[in-house]
């Protein structure tokens, strides 16, 4: 006899964080706008800079990485780079940067050593350092030249879904505010309208996604390996999902672009033990390549593939049988808003997988005996 599983028994704090993005969206938008208005005229670099470096560790750098398109939209001609904190603090040649280069260091806690090291190194090189944080008393906040206090409402942030969203939204708002400063035009009200529009469309589908991914967590309960295939900005959203797969149910999850999959990861086997997630936006330039890759994942590799997209597999050109979940995307002109929600289906899957496996997040929490030598490394080089 078929067993029945009640979703309510498998909900957990991480799933609730996914739900929490709904009410958080416009509240956080207004909070970040209020904060950005306090700082935007504080430093002349916001008016003149042609180079912005977004940095951070873990989820925070992944938030920076998905904001390049927002920079291209609001600040054409400005060179935006997302540089991992380790790379920026130890390897990057800051000495050759223009003095009005801005480093936006994202860390909600403001206590991450490597991120703080980037700020200190930026200060030493005379750059404008911005601590984008929710902790105004943190070391990052105190060390940076400018404090961008994101001022999030209280809530559970374990495994960081909310904070990731807050970072992305706050980055985008900073870009729009800089554009307002530089052009004298008003951009933030229109941005708020578009965020609301995308939000409404996305969350109208949320329950269907939630049901589908709950079911998928059971169907894929015995999968041993997980992988995400995605390109462009969605690659970085995929990296966030991969991080959640590690932190929440405890799975290693690879992320690869659709070209390199064909050169390398297609060789991993046995395919039947893989749960493959493909993140695709129908109006992006990669569709022909990734559609072929997904078809090959099924045909050649024998993998089960779940496609997250705004168009059906057939419409995308996928020729093999795959599972499909409809995921709304913003209008093409506003494509840079896509990272605000594109990770949520993957996050939901990770939440349900943890519940289905009975796995505690972070394997039961931080054990400082174990983490002593790594996470809280006190070593700082500037």
């Amino acid at each position: 006899m078929a067993r029945t599983y009640l979703k309510m028994y498998y909900s957990n704090t991480f799933r609730l964080q996914c739900l929490d993005i709904d009410p958080l969206t416009l509240d956080q938008f207004d909070r970040s706008v209020e904060s950005v208005k306090k700082i935007i005229k504080k430093d002349p670099a916001f008016l003149t800079s042609k180079h912005i470096i977004g940095t951070g560790c873990g989820d925070s750098i992944l938030a920076a990485a998905v904001c390049k398109d927002a920079c291209d939209f609001y600040l054409p001609g400005v060179h935006f780079e997302a540089v991992e904190a380790l790379e920026l603090s130890r390897f990057y040649n800051m000495e050759v940067c223009d003095k009005d280069t801005i480093i936006v260091a994202a860390s909600v806690s403001g206590s991450i050593n490597r991120t703080n090291e980037c700020i200190l190194r930026g200060n030493k090189n005379g750059l404008t350092t911005v601590a984008m944080t929710d902790n105004a008393d943190s070391k990052c906040a105190k060390c940076a030249k400018v404090l961008y206090h994101v001022n999030s409402p209280k809530g559970d942030n374990n495994a960081g879904n909310r904070t990731y969203f807050v970072n992305i939204l706050s980055f985008i708002i900073l870009m729009a505010a800089m554009a307002e400063l530089r052009t004298g035009n008003s951009y933030l009200p229109e941005l708020r309208e578009q965020v609301k529009k995308y939000h409404d469309e996305f969350f109208a589908e949320f329950e269907k996604m939630d049901d589908f991914l709950f079911q998928k967590a059971f169907e894929w309960k015995d999968k041993k390996y997980f992988e995400i295939v995605a390109d462009g900005t969605l690659f970085w959203s995929g990296r966030f999902v991969s991080a959640k797969m590690a932190e929440v149910p405890g799975d290693l999850c690879s992320v690869i672009d659709s070209e390199n999959f064909m050169h390398v990861n297609s060789i991993m086997y046995p395919g039947s033990q893989f749960g493959e997630m493909a993140m695709i936006c129908s109006y992006e330039e990669n569709v022909s390549r990734i559609a072929d890759t997904v078809s090959q994942q099924v045909k050649r590799c024998g993998r089960d593939v779940l496609v997250f997209s705004d168009k059906t597999p057939g419409e995308l050109g996928i020729t093999e049988k795959v599972d499909y979940l409809y995921v709304p995307v913003p209008e093409k002109e506003w494509h840079f808003l896509q990272p605000l929600y594109s990770y949520l289906p993957g996050s939901l899957f990770s939440a349900y997988r943890a519940a289905v496996l009975g796995e505690p997040f972070f394997r039961g929490g931080f054990d400082f005996e174990v983490f002593e030598h790594s996470y809280s490394s006190p070593e700082v080089i500037v």
Partner: protein
């Protein structure tokens, strides 16, 4: 178990590096060849270089980026992945505001024939910038598309799963960077020749200890025989060595593998379960600016019970007991380490495949007979 029974084409290709380095440096640090790659005066004026490729070639680009920037003096050198460049890079992303004549797009591909390689070069051409193919096949489709071809002239030899071509691509990229630096005045002729000689010396010095490394890799592969998940970790240039090791683990035993840097490992990868079943390879270069951080990370791995191989040129006793430390020769400059530090992890990949009686490439390549068998 007798190591000789598990001899495979990774072992043989690494053994051949001792001879290959002489030929490859001669063919790549060839000033006349380099001089004629682009119209006179072009190299001096370059301000932006975009390097990319697929699979191992992409790893080669990333592994040499630090050295390329340092020697060429072109800070605005980048290595987007092939999809990022072909489908997402705008004209602004490619040129960063510089005139067409000051921008070079380089596709790296030993065979030169893949569809994406042609697309990379076509995209560069359509933008009006210089396009170059670094390849061992001057007759390939990519060669026909590129405005210029830098033929690496790797001598014939077994190249499955791609260690010779990876090594050749790295040498070519660094020779080009050094030559650009020479033309731009970033480095002197003496430094140009010194880099070439240091590479030769480094490789030969490294290979003096090959037998011990090989034995260690084999023994470790036996210990790690049952493992079906791996991770490779490296920072800066070594991040791409880690990616290359990942590629070999995927191509040889066909098992699951990811890569990371030390900071991200501490934020993400260390959170996974079943650590005792995840083989982990760390690249630890003593002169690297992140040495202390990655040493910390190896301690974290040891505390979590990960079976780990630490590939390091450090003599310091900085590593926890229980870690398998594979000492390698010290690179003359830290950016040179990726020229060889991929070897121990690659040997492990080859032996892990062999001791499990698995042929390479999902069973299609018999590393004993050196033949592919297609379905």
């Amino acid at each position: 178990m007798n190591k000789k029974d598990y001899y495979n084409t990774i072992t043989s290709q690494i053994e051949e590096l001792t001879e290959l380095v002489d030929v490859q440096t001669e063919k790549c640090f060839d000033c006349e060849k380099l001089e004629n790659l682009l119209p006179k005066g072009t190299l001096e004026d370059l301000h932006r270089v975009v390097l990319t490729g697929c699979g191992d070639s992409y790893s080669a680009c990333g592994a040499m980026l630090q050295g390329f920037k340092l020697l060429s003096g072109i800070e605005l050198s980048v290595v987007p992945d092939p999809m990022e460049f072909t489908r997402y890079y705008t004209e602004w992303d490619t040129k960063q505001g510089y005139p067409d004549d000051e921008v070079l797009v380089i596709a790296v591909s030993a065979s030169g024939g893949s569809e994406r390689i042609v697309e990379i070069l076509k995209k560069g051409n359509n933008m009006g910038v210089h396009s170059m193919l670094i390849s061992n096949n001057p007759e390939s489709n990519g060669a026909k598309e590129a405005k210029t071809v830098y033929w690496v002239e790797t001598p014939a030899g077994c190249n499955t799963p791609g260690l010779r071509s990876y090594f050749a691509s790295m040498i070519a990229i660094i020779a080009l960077g050094a030559f650009i630096g020479l033309k731009k005045g970033t480095i002197s002729e003496q430094r140009f020749m010194k880099v070439k000689q240091e590479i030769v010396d480094y490789v030969k010095n490294f290979m003096l200890d090959f037998e011990r490394m090989d034995n260690q890799a084999f023994e470790l592969a036996v210990q790690m025989k049952e493992l079906d998940r791996f991770e490779a970790v490296g920072d800066g240039p070594d991040y791409f060595s880690a990616l290359f090791v990942e590629q070999k683990v995927v191509e040889c035993p066909g098992v699951f593998c990811i890569h990371s840097n030390s900071e991200e490992w501490c934020h993400i990868s260390m959170m996974v379960r079943d650590n005792e079943h995840i083989g982990t390879v760390f690249m630890v270069t003593e002169d690297s600016p992140s040495y202390g951080r990655i040493v910390d990370t190896t301690w974290g791995a040891q505390r979590l019970g990960r079976p780990a191989l630490v590939v390091t040129d450090s003599d310091k006793e900085d590593f926890a007991e229980g870690l398998n430390v594979c000492k390698i020769a010290h690179a003359p400059e830290y950016w040179m380490a990726p020229l060889m530090n991929f070897c121990p992890g690659s040997l492990l990949a080859g032996y892990q495949s062999a001791v499990n009686d698995k042929n390479f490439f999902g069973g299609k390549y018999n590393f004993r007979t050196r033949e592919f068998k297609w379905d």
